[in-house]
């Protein structure tokens, strides 16, 4: 094929967007809404998962050490805990630090009373252990109890299992919603592209009669679909960014809520802009181009 022919086909595809503007506009609207719905659902799902993970990170096991163990035994215990497969982080919290922390939260009167007891600190040394998998917190707790020098282990196992259930439900609900939306959107998009191509079936028919090959007919449709897909993706991206930023601002203003879920649990749009842009453009281009090209197939069998 000559370069001028390729140029001609590209030009045909580009100008067809305007020449068939009513159907182009219908396809654009459907694609825009579909991309926005699916994209926004995915973003909400990601943020909910991140919030649950943020809450999970705040759960730790407190390992209370015997009063009479030596420094060497304390250090050995650190190594033993660190070696457990489910342990992601271990921090030593001395009884002095614990005392300081309690006193800090007291009133001045209470503080003056407590200073007499400082030399007789009743608090124990502890290790604060974070686990990588909340579902295995029970097992990790049992293992910690067996170590020498450990007096007791405090572990929020019930809360952890509740969180695990919440995380699983969130994952299931968000993936089901996204899947359902994807299916519904694909059906609507497929019907729209089919209607768009159906309106031009005579045109395709004429092209076949004058000896055009299937590729020659398909290329302009492919380019046209791709262009509509890109334009829809850009539109959807702008609207998603606006809606997402609005929601992000509203949630960030809820100080109490942010204290619970953690200020870093929500993704700022700019931090995920690149992957979101790539996904929108890729989805828009692919759906637009392939949808139109596949729909033309039916009318090429002449």
């Amino acid at each position: 094929m000559r370069i001028s022919s390729i140029g001609y086909l590209v030009k045909q595809g580009t100008t067809s967007v305007w020449k068939n503007r009513m159907m182009s506009f219908a396809s654009f609207c459907i694609l825009l809404v579909s991309l926005m719905l699916v994209g926004f659902s995915v973003l909400v799902g990601i943020n909910i998962s991140s919030i649950v993970s943020g809450i999970e990170d705040k759960n730790e096991i407190v390992v209370i050490l015997h009063d009479d163990i030596s420094q060497e035994q304390t250090d050995n215990l650190f190594v033993q805990i660190k070696e457990l497969s489910n342990v992601s982080n271990v921090e030593f919290y001395s009884k002095e630090e614990a005392w300081k922390s309690i006193v800090e939260d007291m009133t001045e009167e209470e503080k003056s009373f407590m200073q007499y007891a400082e030399n007789d600190n009743p608090l124990p040394d502890t290790y604060r252990v974070k686990v990588s998998d909340l579902e295995l917190m029970d097992i990790t707790t049992s293992q910690l109890k067996t170590f020498g020098g450990v007096e007791s282990v405090q572990s929020p196992t019930e809360f952890a299992s509740a969180l695990v259930s919440i995380r699983n439900i969130v994952a299931l609900v968000s993936s089901t919603v996204v899947f359902a939306l994807v299916v519904v959107c694909l059906v609507i998009i497929s019907n729209t592209t089919r209607a768009s191509v159906h309106a031009r079936r005579k045109e395709i028919n004429i092209m076949k009669y004058v000896g055009a090959t299937n590729t020659f007919i398909r290329v302009p449709f492919f380019i046209e679909g791709m262009l509509i897909g890109i334009i829809s993706a850009v539109g959807a991206l702008i609207l998603t960014r606006f809606a997402y930023n609005e929601l992000y601002t509203v949630l960030n203003d809820q100080l109490k809520l942010m204290n619970i879920i953690g200020t870093k649990s929500l993704y700022a749009f700019d931090s995920i802009a690149l992957p979101v842009t790539v996904c929108y453009l890729a989805a828009g281009t692919l759906i637009g181009a392939l949808g139109t090209t596949i729909s033309t197939g039916k009318y090429l069998k002449v």
Binding site: M1, R2, S4, S5, Y8, S16, K19, N20, K202, E203, N205, I206, M207, K208, Y209, V210, G211, A212, T213, F216, V302
Partner: protein
């Protein structure tokens, strides 16, 4: 050259459209195909264009055996045939120039050739001034002349005209057939399907009469110019 050897077509509905047809149209011939509705005229054209397959027998068109032709070669076969339809079938979103040039683009013709060839055929059909017009801006007769220009622009061996005068004024019908006759004089084979007996009587030539899927008459008849 078009040849039908014992060709039968039975549609899936059970209708026998053609029954053991034997027909040969030589290069350079001009033949009218006449017959009432359901006689098999359209089926004959669909077979030549490889739109449908023969149930039995062999069809040869412009050197292609249509029984054995590969799907990928059908477009090449169609490039050797120009078709003029009763309903013109011009692409509404393209100008007159683009509609005609499209046929040349399909065969990957050079840009320079397209730029000289399209105005030339438009001049032949008398529509040089309508190059930039869209089909909807033209009258029926003009649209049919554009369709004719499109059919002959790539110099095909055969032009099939399927009731080309069916949607235009009777006066203009004679002009269209006149044009087809002119094209035929340059060596292009013309197969014109019609049920306008006045035209056939006026121009004369080879007349193939179909009835009930069979050829009931295939002879040369003399023309009578006074009937116009």
């Amino acid at each position: 050259m078009v040849e039908f050897k014992d060709v039968s077509v039975t549609y899936s509905s059970g209708v026998d459209a053609l029954n053991k047809i034997n027909l040969k149209i030589n290069d350079g011939d001009f033949a009218f195909v006449v017959g009432s509705n359901g006689a098999g005229k359209s089926t004959l054209i669909k077979l030549i264009l490889k739109e449908i397959d023969a149930t039995e027998g062999t069809v040869i068109a412009n050197g292609y055996n249509l029984k054995k032709i590969r799907r990928s070669k059908i477009s090449k076969l169609r490039r050797t045939i120009g078709v003029v339809f009763q309903d013109f079938r011009l692409i509404p979103t393209m100008t007159v120039y683009e509609n005609i040039a499209f046929v040349l683009r399909v065969i990957d013709a050079p840009k320079k050739y397209i730029k000289t060839r399209v105005p030339y055929v438009l001049e032949l059909v008398g529509l040089s001034d309508k190059m930039k017009a869209y089909p909807e801006q033209l009258s029926g007769g003009e649209q049919q002349r554009v369709a004719l220009a499109r059919a002959l622009v790539n110099d095909p061996k055969l032009i099939i005209a399927d009731e080309p005068t069916g949607n235009i004024d009777p006066e203009l019908s004679y002009d269209i057939v006149e044009l087809l006759k002119c094209i035929n004089e340059c060596g292009t084979t013309i197969l014109m399907v019609t049920h306008e007996h006045n035209l056939v009587r006026y121009f004369g030539g080879r007349v193939i009469n179909l009835d009930g899927g069979k050829i009931v008459f295939d002879e040369e008849v003399g023309g009578n110019n006074e009937n116009k």
